[in-house]
Point group: C2
Chain length 180, copies 2
């Protein structure tokens, strides 16, 4: 991604947070993590993330999703001998999010996936999150999600984040973009 | 506490959350934890808490503080052989909070403590949290806090919560009220 695209995306995330009455500091705004997973298609695929805290014991983030933006299918495997894989709770703060987990496929899912990405989605059991709703994923559970038409804001509460170890169904992916 | 007082306090917390644009479900509202620490003086001393998640690895809560309400001085000791004591991050979402930690006492602290409780406060290094500000307390660190004149809402991100093990400077205290 070009640096100017990253800065534009950070401003967009900050506007969405203000609209949802979620306060962040100017320094947090400057450090919003813009992830396009290396696909260069941020409007469709990616995450805008404010990391509040990430230590050895717990992690808390605010995840901003643009309208219909998708976080692609992945899981958080065990890392190191004693670790169990990241466990995470998604809590919807604003907008609407469709989360997909292993299980019986939902007949008419709300997600809309651009044709070129379709092969990289293998699980279709849908959980709908609206403001105040939350869902906890056990460690190492495959999942993906998409925001509704207005975008969404999710709080993520979890054990330590080690995103660089994530395993993606589409093996080309990586978490953070190269910034030109 | 009388059950009707608990219900009244829950409604008050729910109103403050709505004012701050923080969504909770009807079930969460019914389960807001009202803690008066056994003192029966909730307007001055206590916490109104929405527990979003508390598992073996992490915990997330929304803490509602009434105007000038105080959480009395305490620490979270190690529990069990391998545990380290709870580590916690307070993030201000709404209002203003004065947090006190060990260190050089702040000359003119903003907290106002009713005379009858004064002897139970031993630390006076002040940290002011306004919306978007946060502070992380290492495990087993003595701390207390008071909301400003309008009350406050704090997100607490932490390792597992084991409140029943907390150690209070005022040894009469206990975490949860007896409900009559």
């Amino acid at each position: 991604m070009k640096l100017e695209e990253v800065i534009k995306a950070r401003k967009r995330a900050a506007r969405m947070l203000r609209r949802a009455h979620i306060a962040i500091t100017p320094r947090e705004e400057e450090n919003i993590e813009i992830s396009d997973f290396g696909l260069g298609d941020l409007d469709n695929v990616g995450l805008l993330v404010v990391i509040y805290e990430n230590n050895d014991r717990y992690c808390a983030k605010e995840i901003v999703l643009l309208p219909r933006q998708i976080c692609l299918e992945h899981r958080h495997p065990p890392v190191g001998e004693k670790a169990m894989g990241k466990q995470e709770t998604f809590r919807c703060r604003w907008g609407e999010v469709y989360v997909y987990v292993p299980g019986n496929p939902t007949p008419q899912p709300r997600a809309r996936i651009p044709e070129k990405y379709r092969e990289h989605f293998t699980i279709w059991k849908e959980i709908i999150l609206r403001p105040g709703d939350q869902h906890t994923l056990p460690p190492n559970t495959l999942h993906w999600f998409q925001a509704g038409d207005k975008g969404a804001i999710l709080s993520e509460f979890s054990s330590k984040s080690l995103d660089e170890n994530d395993i993606w169904t589409d093996s080309r992916l990586r978490r953070l973009p190269r910034i030109d």
